[in-house]
Assembly symmetry: D2
Homo-oligomer: 307 residues x 4
């Protein structure tokens, strides 16, 4: 199978994990979801991320989900798997498991206790040694991890560790970080920068030098469209499309509630069978579902006007 | 002067504090800003909030700013002043000072160390006793304060303390909180609920039962327009206006950077003379200013299309 | 096998997990450690706690460690197993596994995101429902979890959930909490209160109404001795013994470094073969080892003087 | 008056701020306290630190306290004043005020939001520029500030900023930090390192290379004695004295409650008239006061035995 490289670009959709209402994993919906994401133009998938409810799965379940998704993808696009864990034994075990199954690489977030520059660099140096030649995505998501990585720290990690091929950029605000990392002489190789935050800053991120997005949104076609239009030099058209989806994207980006909104929307679109989250997890009120419905209706109208 | 009451509604704009490039307070810009906010339809002002760089002012400067703004407002709308401080002596001193100057009430955020329900209720009970008959705004802003107030806690504070007349609602996500507080039998009086987060959820908040907004945005006319249209039952028109401003509002809501963007925009609009923040504070890169300019241009075009 | 009850008392030692220098679990040392703890007078053991490096073990390793320890204990004392995890599926799986192996109960810490009283009570209500009739220990350790449980919250959990039989008390400061929970009419049953913090406040905790300790220290005989002397009404003798061990106990209680110090001491005492921590983990400098050696020498001299 | 230099050594006692039961500052007790600290052998004083309830004082009160203490000290020892504040205007104002009154230098803690190495260095670079030639103490207290400074960061600050003359060392654990900073070639000047944490690790800190303590404890004579004995090469005697005071020192080091315990003890010793803390602040229960009384009685007995 193909391994993830520094030229990863486009949209790597962060996949949700579909459940039955009783909490079992819904494998049929997994298949449908994979097809949907790829039909929408995804150039890759990322599974078992934070928004994939990874921490709520047992190890056996994680393996089953990854195996199912990889089987369905069947080599059409690279699949990255989140393997963040408190201990090295778990990270090593998960990494071996998913790479054996055919993943293209792994994604690793820093543990919450890291603070100083050296602590962060040391952690990734040890992790990179641990997983050997497996390419990895550096996840920079301070709002959730509590770990602040400066440009210098990211540059040290990228420059020292050849297997660090991609930055999942999710600092907020983070635009200056992209510009800084793309500046002459900062990195000794041009890595892939794929952005997060539900795509909420995607037009600006593309201008700053991002290669695309690695995040979730119930309408991944928005991200695909925006990235493609910017790549083709049709920035204004890209912004028009972005703006049409923004009211819903903003709504889906509410912390805690966002995943429930995303799953509700995916279920409404017929992609997954149920909008169930695993416990402990948020549920949507009737009013919230109405709000989503209204945002979708207005979005469709706006897209029609755009043509 | 009029005191703040439970019927506060509309848009209380969180005022910035204008500075000269060398860090001195720019009093002329204060006057112009007050006139601008009121001309835009603000029904109140809130000064010395977090976005007013209050913690960077000396006590003497705080007094001078409040005095200048109150003089310029001259009773046209109520003015709320933020008086959050680590100690009761400071809160009492600031409250007396600003009420003597003519403020309509004060706003108080919880100190960061509060955790349990009882700790929060006890704190506000002591503060309310401390400031006597001065009406106060309860500031619920967990992203910044780190303090999570449940509906029950807010209800206990509102029901026990007659001087708590308004909730500055800034939880994220917070829509269910409005619905819960507006439900029959929860509160023993109908308080004012004014929402924050830069107006980013204003249409949904109005439907849930908010009375308006108490937040900042370089285009306060957006918030005024949205609130008025919802009040008049013209929700769809309100949403159209909201959507037109959303790309910029989203951009201005970036933590840390947001205030610099707001001041840059206000300066560009000719409302304040300089976009300077006091040290320590963020500065905008050339690219960021370009992004704002582009968002404003698109926003104007969109508003024109809307008619 | 016997299940944990509200009458748990004495010293439940938090067991370390012994490793070989290459990171494999050292099962022979597990056996020796169990014998040592029981010979020292432990009335129970707690395994897979935070100080047992539980988060660094794979699920298979966790099972193997628990099985080995239970086999060696062989019913002599009850064994509690830590099963805290981000998701309910994991908690349910771990609980079933360890109860099948013969554990007496499980210990559950709150996930770090819980803030309001109701959030905490709801979490434990759901967890208790999840694990059915398995008795559990409520772990109150705010310094590490970030979750503050008021007396009221603990009382609600204990009073609502019959399977909550024990509080692992590790608030700091926490003496008033014991007094409050032991007051007439607060709890509807007298639960077991076993204290943590490395035994650093054990004499005061016993006076306040604790039933003993559930914590780790390289000299568990200190805790056993203190608890027994207080139980026999020989408080001053208990305090003399406590004071003799305090300089080392204080040194072992350093966050981050403490476990390395504990393992170094246990290895020095011949109880475990190696002082190795699993990566990522702290290592002791030569100077630090000298400090421990000196503290042990002084401690032995002092104990001799005491007679 | 003398300015603080890199040769500061001995014990700089962190002074409490004495209050009357009604919350007014008790100036008579200030005088008595100063005399007591100096009679006990303090080589300096630090006022308006966190344990001085500085954040609860108004600016006018801060000035009055500093003026009173400086007048009473009357040049006998250098006095450091804490001037940490959210904004540069406040820091500059406070610094000028206290230096004009005769302070020897200021102490500055990092604002809680700082994370990366460069953020911390930049902050202190700007602050040092702001306060000109005033010598300052770098306060490294991560448990309270949340800011982790690596050895490298401290070295950059010390090496770049000539006015950084002293490190208030209060990391926990922090012994390796002292060793690292004292290693050949790390710093371009030998700064003063004075340790915190209530003196709880003072014997080990002295061996590692500290110059003394800058912290509070109701028995400052313990710290003076320990520092002097280590300085004279009588380490074992120093440890004997330390051990005698440790049970109470440990008890006084409880977060939140510690200051109330310290003030209760100082009042009991007749040094300050009242044990009152300003609101919001903890109060001691009868049981807690009994615990302190018992610890003091045992401490006196132990000291007598030591001779």
């Amino acid at each position: 199978m193909t391994r993830l490289t520094t030229s990863a670009a486009g949209v790597f959709v962060i996949a949700v994990t579909p459940f039955h209402p009783d909490g079992r994993i819904d494998m049929e919906s997994c298949d449908r979801m994979v097809d949907f994401y790829l039909d929408a133009g995804a150039t890759g998938l990322t599974v078992l991320g934070m928004m994939g409810e990874a921490p709520k799965l047992t190890v056996d379940e994680s393996r089953d989900v990854v195996a199912r998704i990889l089987a369905r993808v069947n080599g059409r696009v690279p699949v990255v798997v989140g393997v963040s864990a408190p201990g090295f034994a778990q990270i090593a075990g998960l990494t071996k498991m998913v790479m054996d199954l055919g993943a293209a690489g792994v994604m690793i977030a820093p543990p919450g206790g890291l603070r100083t520059d050296d602590q962060i660099v040391t952690y990734y140096t040890q992790v990179a040694e641990l997983i050997g030649d497996v390419p990895f995505v550096l996840q920079d998501f301070p709002l959730v991890t509590g770990v602040q990585m400066s440009n210098k720290v990211i540059a040290r990690i990228v420059n020292d560790l050849p297997t660090c091929v991609c930055l999942k950029h999710e600092d907020w605000p983070g635009l200056e970080k992209i510009t800084a990392l793309r500046a002459e002489g900062v990195l000794n190789k041009r890595i892939s920068i794929l952005c997060g935050n539900g795509g909420l800053f995607l037009p600006e991120e593309m201008v700053r030098g991002a290669d695309g997005a690695m995040t979730g949104f119930a309408y991944p076609e928005m991200m695909v469209n925006v990235v493609e239009h910017f790549a083709k030099g049709q920035a204004e058209r890209g912004r028009d499309i972005f703006d049409a989806y923004l009211p819903l994207a903003r709504f889906e980006q509410q912390p805690g509630l966002g995943l429930a909104i995303r799953k509700y929307t995916l279920a409404k679109r017929g992609i997954i069978a149920h909008d169930a989250l695993r416990k402990p997890g948020a549920a949507l009120s009737k009013q919230c579902r109405d709000e989503v419905d209204r945002l979708i209706a207005r979005q469709e109208k706006r897209l029609e006007e755009l043509g």
